[in-house]
Point group: C3
Chain length 434, copies 3
């Protein structure tokens, strides 16, 4: 038994916010009506009709009614979860009261939306006592409306130093008799307001990267069985930057990210899944270059490395140094400088092999990855061994567990997954490790 | 309402220590006498007559008397706050007793200095219980001397793992009935002793950068309404290094820094204020190069980039790659590679525009920054849009709030500010956002 | 008095694990029998017969008996401490019960091993309450076997978010009446399982670097008077990588590291000790290059810098810029770009000088390091001053204190140390600072 997750979804890739009421449109609910229609790879795991920052203060009453209308009508068909965000502020009781009333209205069964509402998102929380105040609102609302206690989940936006400190305490506080914080679901970073709260400044006005905040959020989520989600990536045009941010997040154990557009949702839904094809990387000049697969060889065709052979002796020029090497020395040097990004198929296969070995009573086996590298037309065969034991197996399992979570809960994405990987790989990936 | 700051100063840029008694001088108080005479941009926000590490143990009795003499005589005219540092150690009750007696003497109204003393700095604190012991000394001293409870602020030097952990607890402990930790003012990192306490080592003996300590200090300050200050930068000759450290600190929300000389004070007083002139930056080779403004163009004149044009088609060579581009593609590429550091004037203007837009009922507007870039004599016009909403506005406000805090509390620096920015910009910067 | 360390060893460089029972060998205890025979620089400070992950589940009963046999026979002569690792899991009471029974058996005086057992290593701990459960096992075992309370130390593997949070609480919990957590000794990171627990992923399957975890472990150790140890470095061939990891760890105050082979033990035993010879470093191209000592000069012979002289005027080409400089300007530039890694002898000498100066009543003295640099045959004399005060002295003392700790507790390494440094330096290093 590991830390018990209370909810069906163990992973959330995407947290997509939409304004609940837009001024100057015929239909002020236009944005959420359109979001409610998303399906497949462009539909988020968690959809957040945003009645806070994305919606003008003067439009929020209307926004709450729009949420009710749209969710009552389209919620049943929406493939992801639905978690509206309401107003709240640790330092403003009026805002907290307003947030309470909005939730109360949206969750009223008479209004017909609550059956499709999975929970609410509470922004601007403060210390753990403030989280308890929000939880108390949920308790009263569930009681008044005759909803099961804990049936509405609570997610918070961590956007203050106080809330960051509270991340260390959630685990301890959950389960105490006078709260129902077991309803906690997502811990979402909000770097814009966090930067303001911390009074941080950068020359260009860009947000700091806040690696420690993201670590603390991920650690708090891990300790309490919750899910960590990173904040918005404002530069919507910068798809590469968004992917790099997500790769850095995954190395911290933060699998989810905010998405601002259906296009960002699509990119972020795909990002944590293993690639279709494996890739060899070569370390050059402090960075890593992807080699290109051509006719069964992995080809380097940049200018940073040169390799020549004459009579079994090799000259390798790389990073400003020239090395005269025997074939074995060259292989050794290249082994040190290469790494391999496994494909979905590779991961599944390695897991299957390890399972078979374990079945046969072996605790550890060597997995081999072979390739023919080609640099300046000179070819050399490499093979990399990696020992797999139970711990390696379990760590490698994370992307597969994520895949299976997606497969189980998002049937609307089955076609997209089959298109990416082929049905055979999808089928085996759903089976392995169970 | 945000976390309530108890003190007038919301920002402290500079924490300047001076030895209280120097051996072998006619006047052992020479250093603090000279420090007490600082005015304007060389005078610190917080001046710390240092009766601990900067003063030889054998001179500290005399040092305490020197503090009294100099502060009684010159304290009324000193433009910054005055916070003497006394001895203290979490693991040494004798030192704590000595620190108590020094504070008691310096704060004795009969000695005529206390009216100009804003508080004391307590070094080498341990866990939160140790902070409470120091607070208890303040309580007894205030009671004995008939000073208002809480009238003396307490600042601490965080230079142990125990104290770092306590940073997470200050908020919770403040306001409990048996302490008066509401008197807390500054959280100051002390990396030299911290390094010793952590038993850290580097090959050259240089201090580690301790990014996590600085984050934790800044977070603790944010959560408790206090001010975070970084420790001393020993290499006094290295002005660029000092500026880089402060820029990194500000990205963590740590606005203040220790200063060891009036020259460092001057640099550190100016550093967190926005620049007089905006600058365009171009990403080249993993770093950022400042472009030079010449005749309305932003000129790149390094060797890292080349650009040529022929018949509407462009060739851009950058970071080892050559790209053939149309004008639109070139513009796109350069937009991705440029950023803009706004001037004080730019920030004020953007805030004014956003305020006007908000007044007119708009929640978000696009701010445009335009320039003509010139590379190898080839020119191209760029304009960068950035969406401003309430959150952007509030985050951009931090340097302005800091400026206003300086302007209000440091009239002795008005001339220096007017000289840097011109009176018109200063005038508008004091008005905007209020 | 500083935080009281309860144990003799104040530093642990090496934490060496061996499988306790290997299948398919004539002697299943082969690996631990061989490890028990290690002496000198290949023998670890802490040896961990590993009855958890390194040993197949089916072999662990036999492994426990092997520990007893081998330690009873060879434990008295083993030069390091002996801390077997048993099974445990925060989420699995069956595993906790098994770990308890294994410890009970190994510690049974009838079995003859416990006299040579210093403590046990508990993996997979959870929150602080889980640490207390493990401590309770120790209490019962000590009571049952008539061992002195607290005579068996407890070390933990931090490999979950929950345990990472507990690091902040150890200090507070130690010494409470109903636990005996004063028995705590090592805090060891376990990045493989931590990565799994955090659900972190990297493209190649390599472990993330987890800088925050290592900081938190080091901070927790510092606050509670414990010793921080980093987890295994899997790539056994990569000696340079192992050294770099240890250098980064030491900058965090984490002196110890896991070792998987006697060769890794040797490298890790030497790594934290100051070098035999000092080295000058020159900053070139964003990195640092070691200069080579030749005939009293420090020679740069790479291609990244060129220097020529003509009529007292110098041209220095470095990092893509060419500077025309006077001799003084050149010296200034090179001073900024050089640093010095002191030898053991240098550190001892500087400490001796500072001690003499302090004796003579001086609180701070300037230490000078001089050298003649030679670049392209052009020579220039440099001298670097560094102010030493009490704090510098104490920080510099860390490697010496570590050396003295090694010298006192590891007589089997005296020969290796004399061979590295010469007996004179060893002799003076054992005396200085006492």
């Amino acid at each position: 038994m590991s830390v018990q997750r209370k909810y069906e979804r163990e992973f959330v890739r995407t947290f997509f916010t939409s304004p609940t009421a837009v001024q100057g449109e015929d239909d002020s609910a236009k944005m959420i009506r359109s979001a409610a229609g998303l399906r497949g790879i462009q539909a988020p795991d968690v959809w957040v009709p945003d009645n806070e920052d994305a919606t003008a203060p003067s439009m929020r009453d209307e926004g709450a009614r729009n949420i009710i209308d749209v969710v009552a009508e389209h919620g049943a068909d929406f493939p992801g979860e639905i978690h509206p965000r309401v107003v709240w502020h640790r330092d403003d009781a009026e805002k907290r009261l307003a947030g309470f009333e909005y939730m109360r209205e949206i969750a009223d069964p008479e209004n017909g939306a609550v059956d499709h509402i999975d929970g609410f998102v509470i922004p601007e929380v403060g210390d753990i006592d403030d989280w308890k105040k929000a939880d108390e609102c949920f308790q009263m609302i569930e009681a008044e409306h005759g909803l099961e206690e804990g049936s509405l989940s609570m997610s918070v936006i961590v956007e203050s130093g106080e809330a960051e400190i509270a991340l260390n305490r959630v685990r301890d506080e959950m389960g105490k008799p006078s709260n129902t914080l077991e309803r906690m679901f997502l811990l979402v970073d909000g770097e814009v307001d966090y930067t303001k709260d911390m009074r941080a400044m950068t020359p260009t006005g860009e947000l700091p990267e806040w690696p420690e905040l993201r670590h603390n959020t991920s650690k708090g989520a891990s300790a309490a069985g919750l899910i960590a989600v990173d904040g918005p990536f404002d530069n919507i045009r910068d798809v590469e930057g968004y992917k790099e941010r997500m790769e850095a997040n995954r190395a911290k154990g933060m699998t989810g990210i905010w998405s601002l557009t259906p296009k960002q949702v699509e990119v972020a839904n795909k990002a944590p899944l293993p690639p279709k094809d494996g890739t060899w990387l070569l370390e050059v000049g402090g960075g890593e270059v992807e080699l290109v697969s051509e006719g069964g060889r992995e080809v380097y065709d940049g200018d940073g490395v040169s390799l020549s052979e004459s009579g079994g002796s090799y000259v390798l020029a790389i990073d400003g140094d020239e090395h005269e090497l025997t074939e074995d020395e060259l292989r050794e040097e290249l082994l040190d400088r290469t790494s391999y990004v496994p494909s979905m198929d590779d991961i599944v296969e390695s897991m299957e092999e390890f399972e078979a070995a374990k079945e046969a009573g072996k605790g550890a086996i060597a997995m081999t990855q072979s390739a023919t590298l080609s640099i300046d037309g000179v070819e050399i065969d490499l093979s990399k061994d990696r020992m797999w034991d139970e711990a390696t197996y379990q760590a490698a399992q994370t992307p597969i567990t994520l895949f299976q979570d997606v497969y189980e809960h998002r049937p609307d994405q089955h076609d997209a997954l089959a298109e990416i990987y082929g049905s055979d790989v999808v089928e085996r990936a759903t089976q392995v490790g169970n």
